[in-house]
C-alpha cells in the first residue's frame, strides 16, 4: 500500500534525520520502533505531508505523496505526537469542526459520524465538556477520534501511548488493532511491547537509518539460541558489558540479571533463554552504534 523509497532528510542545523530509508508498508498495523530522536517523527510527518524530504519518494495506493499532498490528506488520519486542543471548546464542537475540514460538509452525515466516533472512543458522555478539563487519556482518545474522521485509509499515530495509564493504554491499543484490520496504520513508538503485542509487521530505525523491517516473529526467530541470561553482582556489570554484547540488564530482587548475545555459551552460569523483541531491538541498536 505505502511504499517509501530512498527517503533522505537533513535539517538546517545539520542533523540528518533520515538516511536513504526505504520501506514497504502493507495494510494492517505497522510498528515503527526506535529510540528518542531516531527520526521516527520526521518520517511520520513526511508521510503526513507536513514536511518535505530532500530526496526519495513516497507512494500511497498510487498517490505520489510528496507532490500531491492534497490527495493524500483526503485519505489520511493523523495523530501527532504532542498535540494540544483549544481548552475552551467542547470535544463535540472541535470534532465537528475537524469533520467539516475533512470534507464532511453534509450536516447529517457529519453528525452521525461524530457521534459514532465519540461513542467508539467512549467520550460520548463527556462530549459537552471543555477539552481543557480532559485527562491525558481522554485527550488521547479524542485525538484518535479526530484521526478517524472521514474513514481514512492511512492512519498515522505518533507515540500515542506515552503518559497513559495501563488501562487507558490497553483500551487505546485495542482500538488501534480494530482499525488496523481495515486500513494501513503506522504506529510509532519507543515502547517495544506495543509492537510485540499488536503489530504483524514492523521497522526499526535509529539515527535516521533503517535497521530492520519485517515481521517481529522473524526477527525474534533469527536470535534463537543466541541469547543468554545470567544473574551477576552489581560490581561486575561494567566488566560484563566490556566483555560481551549485553542486550539488557535489569534488576531482579536488587541484583542485575543480564541478557548477552552470543553464538556460544559465554561462561558458566549463563542459561539460554527464548529471545523477545526487546532483545532484537537492543541488539540492533548495539550493532548500529558499534558500526557508527
Amino acid at each position: 500500500m505505502l511504499t517509501i523509497k530512498n527517503l533522505s532528510k537533513t535539517y538546517a542545523n545539520g542533523v540528518q534525520a533520515l538516511k536513504d530509508v526505504s520501506l514497504d508498508i502493507p495494510r494492517g498495523l505497522f510498528g515503527l520502533l526506535g529510540p528518542n530522536g531516531a527520526g521516527k517523527s520526521t518520517l511520520m510527518r513526511t508521510i503526513a505531508t507536513l514536511q518535505d524530504a530532500d530526496s526519495g519518494s513516497i507512494d500511497f495506493g498510487g498517490i505520489d505523496v510528496l507532490s500531491n499532498k492534497d490527495a493524500l490528506r483526503r485519505t489520511l488520519g493523523y495523530l501527532p505526537q504532542d498535540f494540544g486542543v483549544y481548552p475552551k471548546v467542547s470535544a463535540e464542537e472541535l470534532l465537528e469542526h475537524f469533520a467539516v475540514l475533512k470534507g464532511l460538509v453534509d450536516r447529517k452525515e457529519r453528525k452521525a459520524s461524530v457521534e459514532a466516533l465519540l461513542r467508539q472512543t467512549n467520550l460520548w458522555d463527556v462530549r459537552k465538556r471543555k477539552l481543557g478539563t480532559y485527562s491525558g487519556g481522554m485527550r488521547q482518545r479524542f485525538g484518535i477520534a479526530q484521526a478517524l474522521l472521514g474513514n481514512p485509509r492511512l492512519v498515522i499515530v505518533d507515540e500515542p501511548t506515552a503518559g497513559l495509564d495501563p488501562e487507558e493504554r490497553n483500551r487505546f491499543l485495542n482500538l488501534l488493532a480494530e482499525i488496523g484490520e481495515q486500513v494501513v496504520v503506522i504506529l510509532s513508538t519507543h515502547i517495544v511491547e506495543d509492537v510485540t503485542d499488536l503489530c504483524p509487521r514492523m521497522a526499526m530505525i535509529c539515527q535516521g537509518n533503517l535497521l530492520l523491517s519485517g515481521k517481529p516473529s522473524d526477527a525474534i526467530e533469527a536470535l534463537h539460541a543466541r541469547v543468554w541470561r545470567a544473574r551477576i553482582r552489581k560490581a561486575e556489570l561494567a566488566d560484563y558489558q566490556a566483555r560481551y554484547t549485553v542486550l539488557q540488564s535489569r534488576l531482579v530482587g536488587g541484583e542485575p540479571v543480564i541478557h548477552v548475545f552470543s553464538e556460544t555459551q559465554p561462561e558458566g552460569g549463563f542459561q539460554l533463554v527464548e529471545p523477545d523483541l526487546e532483545d532484537v531491538y537492543f541488539l540492533k541498536l548495539r550493532q548500529h552504534r558499534a558500526a557508527a
Partner: protein, 1201 residues
C-alpha cells in the same frame, strides 16, 4: 528570604521579552517625540527648548500613566504567576514567609517596571543629541528634571499602581480579574478627571489625580517660556500635597494587600459554578468501559467532498469558528467594553468652548469614535492578526489541522475575515454608543446613513491595516518578530512627515483626509481619498496573495523550502491574484501621481517654506516701491460650485497717490489662480515668477502722480483632478467661500507671505521674524494694518451660481435674476469700505428680520436651525447698543452666513459675516447657566462694523486694540446688559486664564496692550480684561463718550491712519485725574496683581447684623517683555465684597451684601465690614476684574464664630 524573592523576580522579569518590547516601544516613542514633532506625547512641545525641563517632566508624567499597562504585566504577574502556572502549591507548601514572598515579588516587579522608565529617560537623554536638531532649541542637559520626574512623579506613581494591583490581585486572584480591575480603575479615573476639570474646583481637581500630572501642570501653568526652559517646580503646594496624599494611599494599599493575600491554592476558598457542565461519568463506569472486551469498530460510511463547493462550505464554517473564538474571548470583550466607556465619556464631554457644550451632532460623534478607537483598534488588529495566524500553533494543534484536506485559501480567508469582524464589531458598538449619547443628551436627529457612510470609510482603512499586519505575520512566521515589524513600520510611517516625506504614495494606507461636513457632506474629498484607498487596497491584495503563497503548512519549514513552495503556489491562482493586484497598484499609483503632482503641484512643507523664503529674498527689495492704490473694484464672478471652478472678470480703478511716477506694477496672485488676460494701458511683462505668483509689468508710460487708470483682469480659479492633501477648501460643492486675498490680485510686495516661524526663518538665514513697525513710526501710518494697496474702496459685483444655490458678496442687493440656467445677483456697496471682500455660495435656508431699517439675514444650513434666533437677537442687541452709544450703523443689512467646518472662525466683512458651521450653529445653549458664546461671537463680529470697518488702525504696534480689543469690549457690554454682571465673572475668568497661560508661550516679547503686535492673547484676552476694568473704574458712559468721539473724528479717515496713542488721548480726556495712573498701568505697562483672601470670619452682632473680617494679602507687580517682575506700589482702590447664598444655591443665585472699593496700601492687612444678613463668601476683587495670577483664591467661605 525577601532578597531571594526579589532577586528571583527581577531576574525573571528582566529575561521576559515583554519587558524589553515595552521598554523599546516607549523609549522609541519618547525619544522620537523629543527630537521631532512627528510624535507628540501629551501636548506638543511648542516653542520651548526641545529638552526643556518642563518637556521632560510632561513626558515622564504622561508615560507614568501609560505605564499602567506595563506595571500590570510585571507586578500582577509576579503575584499571580504561580496561580496561573500551577506552581502555587510548590511555594505555599514551603515554609516561606508570606511577607517576604509578597513584597519580594512586588518589589521585583516594580523594579522591572522602573527599568522601562529608565529606558524612556535614557532615550530622551540621547534624543537631544540627535543630529539635525536646531542647536538654538537645545538647552543644557536637564538632569534635575530627570531626577525630579523619576523621583517625584514616576516612583510614587509606580508605588501607587503597584498598590492598586496588589489589592486587585489579592482579591481577584486571576490576571484577567486584575486587568478588568485596572480598566475599571482607569475608566473611573478618566471620569473623575473629566468631571473635575471645571475651573472652579482646582484643589479637588488636583488632588483626585493619583498620577500627579495635574498638580504638575497646575504648578507650571502660567510659566513663561524662559521659566519652562530653566526651572522645575518646587516640591511645595499642590505638588507636595498630591504626592504626599497618594503615597500615603499607596502605603495603605500595600497594607491591605498584605492582609488580603492568602497563600493558598485558588479554588479552595469558594467554588465557582461551571456553565453547561454535564455530570461526570461515574468512575466505575469508566473503568468498566475501558477494561471491557474490545468492541467491534463500526463507523458509519461517509462520503467526504473535496470540491469547490465543499471548500466554500469549509470557509463559511471556519469563518464562523474563528470569529466566535475572537469575539467571545474575554480579552476582546474587555477591550470592547473599555473602548465603549472611553468613547462614551469622550462623546459626552465633546468640544467645550467657554464651558458651553456643542450639540452632539453626528460628525462630532464620529470624531469621538475616531478619537477613542483609532489607536486602540490598530493595536487590537495587530494583536489579533498574530493571535489568529498562530492560533493552531499556540494550541499545538497545527499538525492536526495542517494535515487536513483543506485548500490553503480557506484558513487564510477565514482568519482574515475573523479579523475584519473585530473592526465591524468595534465600529458598530461605537455607533450604538454614540447614538445612545445623542439620545441621552436629548438630541434626536439620528443620521443612520451618515454613520454608515463614515464608518464604512473608517472600516476600509482598518481593513488595510489588518491586511498588512496579517500578511507580515504570515511572512515572518514568528509572532513577536511580526508584531515588532508591524509596529515598527507604522511608527516609521508616522515619522515620515517629520522628514518631509509627505506624499501618501509611499505611506501605507495613507490618503488625504475626507472630513464630513453637514453642509458639504464628503464634498470633493471623497474622490482623492477613494483613489488612494483603491491604490492601497491593491497593495493589500498583493500582500494577501503573497501571504497565500507563503502560507505555512506543516512543521517549521526551512527558508529554502518555503521559497520553493511559494514559487510553486505562485504558478497558480495566488500568482494570478498577485500579478493582477500589482498591475492595479502600479496603474493606480501612476494615475495618482499624474493627478497629485502633474495636474496639481505637490508641495512638501519644507519646499513650500523654501519657496516662501525665496519670495522674501527675491522680492523684499520692492517692499517700499510706490504702487498705485485701488479705489474702485468691479467684478463679475461666475461660480461653478459643483465643478469647483470660478471665473473672475474684474476691474480695479487705480490711482497713483504717491508723489512720484510709477514705472512698474508688481502684481501678486495666489498660485492657484491663473491669469487669462490683463489689460491696463501699454505695458510689457518684465518678470514672471509662476512658482510664487509674482509678476512685474513695466509701463510704457510711467503713471504720473495723481494719474488714474483701469486695471482689468480675467482670472480662472479652479480645482483640477485631486491632490495629495485636502487641497483648497474655498471652492466647494456646497459652501463655497473665498475672500479677495485668495482669488484677486494684490499690488506690491505683501509682507504677510513671509515666514513667521522663528525656527524656520533661522534655518533659512532669514534673520529674526519681522515685527510690526513701532508705534512711533510715522511713515508706517500711510497704510492700515489690513493692506498696503488700497484705502477705502467702492465695491460693486455681479455674482452668478447654480440655480439651487444663493450667491453672496458684500453690498446691497440691486437685482436678482436667472439667465442661461444660472442665478445672478448684483450687489453694490453704497459707501466706501475696507479693501476686503468675499464671495459665498451654498444652498441655505434664510431667516430674515429687521432692526429699524437694517435688514438682518441669517443664511444657515437646513440641519442647523438651533441657534438662529439667538444670532438674530445678538445682532439686534449689538446694533441697539452701538447706535445708542457710538455712531450709526453704516450698512443697510447684516448678513450672517454659514460656511463648512473645514475652518472654524467667524470673520467680519462689510455687512457680511461668514461664520463657520463648527463654532456657533451647533452650540448647545440649552443650559441657561452656560455662557452664550454664540451671542457673544455675533456681538463681537457685529461690533467690528465699527471697530475696523469705521475706524482702522495704522500698520503700527497697537493697531489691533482698535479692532479686536474694542470689539471684545463692545461684545462684553452687550452681553452684560443681556445676562447681567454675574455671568461676566465666569467669562472674564476664562479670558484671564487664557491670557495667563498663553503668555508663557510667547516667543519674542510680551508687549503692553497699546503696543500689541497682532498677538491674540493680548488683544483679545488681555484686551477684554483691560477694557472691562477701565469701564468699571471710569464708568461705562464716559468710556463710551470717548469712544464715540474717537469714532466720529477718525472714522473713514485717509492716511495717516490712527494709532492706539490717539485712542488713549481720547480715553484719558474722559478719565479723572486720580485714574490716569490706572490707564498707564492698563495700557502702557504689563501689570499683575496677586491678591488673595487668607481668612474670612464673621460674628453675629446683637442687632442681628454681622461683622465680617477679611484677612487679605495684596501684591502688585510690573513685568517686562521677558517676564522679569518688579514690585509696584499698592494703594489703588480695590473691590471687596461679601455675599450671601441660600443653602445649595449656585454662585449665579448669590446676593451681594456688600461691594465697595477700598484703597488698601499694605501687603497684609485685615478689614472688617458690617453686613445685614448671614454671609456665605467674602473676597477681594471678587469678580476677578483685575489681572490676578491666581484668580481662584480671591474668595473664601466665611466661617461664623
Amino acid at each position: 528570604m525577601f532578597w531571594e524573592f526579589f532577586r528571583f523576580e527581577l531576574r525573571f522579569q528582566l529575561r521576559s521579552p515583554l519587558l524589553w518590547i515595552f521598554t523599546g516601544l516607549f523609549a522609541l516613542l519618547a525619544g522620537t517625540a523629543l527630537a521631532t514633532d512627528a510624535v507628540t506625547v501629551g501636548s506638543a512641545i511648542g516653542n520651548v527648548n526641545r529638552n526643556a525641563p518642563a518637556v521632560v517632566l510632561n513626558f515622564l508624567a504622561v508615560f507614568s500613566i501609560l505605564g499602567l499597562l506595563v506595571v500590570v504585566s510585571f507586578v500582577a504577574s509576579g503575584l499571580l504567576r504561580d496561580h496561573e502556572l500551577g506552581t502555587a502549591e510548590l511555594f505555599f507548601a514551603s515554609p516561606m514567609n508570606k511577607r517576604d514572598f509578597l513584597f519580594g515579588r512586588m518589589a521585583g516587579g516594580l523594579c522591572a517596571s522602573l527599568v522601562v522608565f529608565l529606558g524612556i529617560a535614557l532615550a530622551m537623554s540621547l534624543a537631544q543629541f540627535w543630529p539635525g536638531l536646531d542647536p538654538e532649541r537645545i538647552g543644557p542637559y536637564p538632569w534635575r528634571a530627570y531626577l525630579y520626574g523619576l523621583g517625584v512623579i514616576v516612583l510614587p506613581d509606580l508605588l501607587f499602581i503597584g498598590g492598586v494591583l496588589g489589592v486587585l490581585a489579592a482579591t481577584t486572584r486571576t490576571l484577567l480579574g486584575t486587568y478588568v480591575g485596572v480598566i475599571a480603575f482607569f475608566t473611573l479615573w478618566t471620569i473623575a478627571t473629566a468631571l473635575s476639570r471645571d475651573l472652579e474646583s482646582v484643589m479637588t481637581a488636583v488632588m483626585v489625580d493619583p498620577f500627579g500630572g495635574r498638580a504638575l501642570s497646575r504648578a507650571m501653568r502660567y510659566w513663561s517660556a524662559a521659566e519652562r526652559n530653566t526651572q522645575i517646580p518646587d516640591l511645595y503646594g499642590y505638588v507636595l500635597a498630591n504626592r504626599a496624599l497618594w503615597t500615603a494611599v499607596a502605603i495603605g494599599l500595600y497594607v491591605a494587600t498584605y492582609a488580603l493575600f492568602k497563600p493558598m491554592r485558588t479554588g479552595t476558598a469558594s467554588a465557582k459554578p461551571v456553565k453547561g457542565r454535564v455530570a461526570e461519568p461515574q468512575p466505575h463506569a469508566v473503568a468498566a468501559a475501558v477494561a471491557g472486551p474490545p468492541s467491534e469498530l463500526v463507523l458509519p460510511g461517509v462520503s467526504p467532498r473535496h470540491d469547490r463547493g465543499a471548500a466554500r462550505a469549509q470557509f463559511r464554517h471556519l469563518l464562523g469558528f474563528e470569529t466566535r473564538a475572537v469575539l467571545s474571548g474575554i480579552p476582546f470583550r474587555i477591550m470592547l467594553a473599555f473602548g465603549m466607556m472611553n468613547l462614551g465619556f469622550g462623546a459626552v464631554l465633546s468640544d467645550i468652548l467657554f464651558g458651553t457644550k456643542v450639540l452632539p451632532v453626528t460628525h462630532l460623534m464620529l470624531d469621538a469614535i475616531r478619537g477613542s478607537f483609532t489607536f486602540m483598534l490598530w493595536v487590537i488588529l495587530v494583536f489579533y492578526a498574530g493571535e489568529l495566524i498562530f492560533r493552531e500553533r499556540s494550541a499545538k494543534l497545527s499538525e492536526v489541522t495542517d494535515a487536513l484536506p483543506v485548500p490553503n485559501w480557506v484558513p487564510l480567508a477565514a482568519k482574515f475575515g475573523a479579523l475584519l469582524s473585530v473592526i465591524v464589531c468595534f465600529l458598530a458598538v461605537g455607533a450604538l454608543t454614540t447614538i445612545g449619547v445623542q439620545l441621552a443628551r436629548g438630541y434626536y436627529a439620528i443620521e443612520a446613513l451618515v454613520y454608515v457612510k463614515n464608518l464604512a470609510l473608517d472600516a476600509w482603512l482598518y481593513t488595510l491595516i489588518a491586511a498588512f499586519a496579517f500578511a507580515v505575520q504570515v511572512f515572518c512566521n514568528q509572532r513577536f518578530l511580526g508584531y515588532a515589524i508591524v509596529v515598527g513600520v507604522l511608527l516609521l510611517q508616522a515619522l515620515l512627515p517629520a522628514m518631509h516625506l509627505e506624499h501618501n504614495l509611499y505611506s501605507y494606507a495613507s490618503a488625504p483626509e475626507a472630513p464630513y461636513s453637514d453642509m458639504n457632506g464628503f464634498g470633493h474629498f471623497l474622490t482623492g481619498w477613494s483613489w488612494f484607498m483603491a491604490y492601497w487596497s491593491a497593495a493589500a491584495l498583493a500582500l494577501l496573495a503573497l501571504a497565500a503563497a507563503f502560507w505555512v503548512r506543516g512543521s517549521d519549514p526551512a527558508r529554502r523550502e518555503r521559497l520553493a513552495a511559494a514559487r510553486a503556489r505562485l504558478r497558480g491562482p495566488a500568482g494570478l491574484a498577485f500579478a493582477t493586484a500589482t498591475v492595479a497598484f502600479v496603474a493606480l499609483g501612476a494615475w495618482i501621481y499624474y493627478n497629485t503632482t502633474m495636474l496639481n503641484e505637490f508641495l512638501p512643507s519644507n519646499v513650500a517654506l523654501d519657496r516662501q523664503a525665496r519670495y522674501e529674498r527675491d522680492y523684499r527689495q520692492y517692499a517700499a516701491l510706490p504702487q498705485p492704490r485701488i479705489t474702485h473694484v468691479r467684478a463679475d464672478v461666475d461660480l461653478h460650485p459643483h465643478e469647483r471652478r470660478a471665473e473672475i472678470r474684474g476691474t480695479y480703478h487705480l490711482v497713483n497717490k504717491s508723489s512720484e511716477p510709477i514705472r512698474e506694477f508688481h502684481v501678486l496672485l495666489p498660485r492657484l489662480v491663473q491669469i487669462e488676460s490683463l489689460e491696463f494701458g501699454p505695458h510689457r511683462l518684465k518678470q514672471e515668477d509662476l512658482e510664487i505668483g509674482y509678476r512685474i509689468y513695466e509701463l510704457d508710460q510711467p503713471m504720473a502722480p495723481g494719474a488714474e487708470l483701469d486695471f482689468a483682469f480675467k482670472l480662472r480659479f479652479e480645482a483640477r483632478g485631486f491632490t495629495n492633501d485636502r487641497g483648497q477648501t474655498q471652492l466647494l460643492d456646497n459652501g463655497t467661500f473665498f475672500n479677495s486675498r485668495q482669488a484677486f490680485p494684490s499690488l506690491g510686495y505683501q509682507e504677510r507671505f513671509e515666514i513667521e516661524d522663528r525656527n524656520e526663518r533661522r534655518k533659512r538665514d532669514l534673520g529674526e521674524p519681522r515685527r510690526m513697525p513701532k508705534l512711533e513710526d510715522e511713515a508706517a501710518r500711510a497704510n492700515t494694518y489690513v493692506g498696503n494697496d488700497a484705502d477705502w474702496i467702492d465695491f460693486e459685483t455681479t455674482v452668478s451660481t447654480v440655480p439651487d444655490q444663493i450667491a453672496l458678496a458684500p453690498g446691497v442687493l440691486q437685482r436678482e435674476w436667472s439667465e442661461n440656467g444660472r442665478r445672478y445677483f448684483h450687489y453694490r456697496m453704497d459707501r466706501p469700505m475696507l479693501p476686503m471682500w468675499a464671495y459665498l455660495s451654498a444652498d441655505w435656508q434664510v431667516r430674515k428680520d429687521r432692526w429699524n431699517d437694517v435688514a438682518i439675514e441669517i443664511y444657515y444650513d437646513a440641519k442647523h436651525p438651533a441657534n438662529v434666533e439667538r444670532m438674530v437677537q445678538g445682532v439686534k442687541d449689538t446694533l441697539a447698543y452701538t447706535e445708542a452709544n457710538f455712531t450709526p450703523y453704516q450698512h443697510k443689512e447684516v448678513r450672517i452666513v454659514e460656511f463648512p467646518r473645514y475652518a472654524s472662525f467667524a470673520q467680519s466683512f462689510a455687512g457680511t459675516f461668514p461664520y463657520s458651521e463648527s463654532i456657533g450653529f451647533i452650540a448647545d445653549l440649552r443650559d441657561p447657566d452656560a455662557i452664550d458664546y454664540v451671542y457673544y461671537v455675533i456681538a463681537h463680529e457685529t461690533a467690528h462694523q465699527w471697530w475696523a470697518h469705521q475706524v482702522i488702525g495704522a500698520n503700527v504696534q497697537g493697531a489691533t486694540v482698535m479692532s479686536e480689543s474694542l470689539s471684545q469690549y463692545t461684545a462684553q457690554m452687550v452681553m452684560e446688559h443681556e445676562y447681567g454682571p454675574g455671568k461676566m465673572r465666569r467669562f472674564l475668568k476664562y479670558e484671564l486664564d487664557r491670557y495667563l497661560s498663553s503668555r508663557g508661550g510667547e516667543l519674542l516679547e510680551e508687549l503692553p496692550l497699546y503696543r500689541v503686535e497682532n498677538q491674540p492673547y493680548i488683544h483679545y484676552r488681555k484686551g477684554s480684561m483691560v477694557f472691562y476694568r477701565l469701564k468699571d473704574e471710569i464708568g461705562e458712559a464716559p468710556l463710551n463718550r470717548a469712544l464715540k468721539r474717537y469714532l466720529e473724528d477718525k472714522g473713514y479717515q485717509q492716511p495717516p491712519y490712527t494709532t492706539s496713542k490717539e485712542l488713549l488721548e481720547y480715553i484719558r480726556a474722559e478719565t479723572p485725574a486720580d485714574k490716569q495712573d490706572l490707564v498707564t498701568d492698563l495700557f502702557e505697562k504689563i501689570t499683575f496683581y496677586d491678591n488673595r483672601i487668607t481668612e474670612a470670619s464673621a460674628v453675629k452682632r446683637d442687632d442681628g447684623r454681622y461683622d465680617v473680617t477679611l484677612k487679605l494679602h495684596l501684591d502688585k507687580r510690573y513685568a517686562d517683555g521677558k517676564g522679569v517682575e518688579t514690585p509696584a506700589a499698592l494703594g489703588e482702590p480695590i473691590e471687596i465684597g461679601v455675599f450671601a447664598r441660600k443653602p445649595g444655591a449656585k454662585e449665579s443665585e448669590e446676593t451681594v451684601l456688600l461691594l465697595e472699593k477700598r484703597a488698601l496700601a499694605e501687603r497684609d492687612m485685615s478689614v472688617t465690614v458690617t453686613v445685614d444678613a448671614e454671609p456665605y463668601e467674602a473676597g477681594v476683587d471678587p469678580y476677578n476684574k483685575l489681572i490676578d495670577r491666581v484668580s481662584a483664591d480671591n474668595r473664601k467661605r466665611v466661617t461664623l464664630k
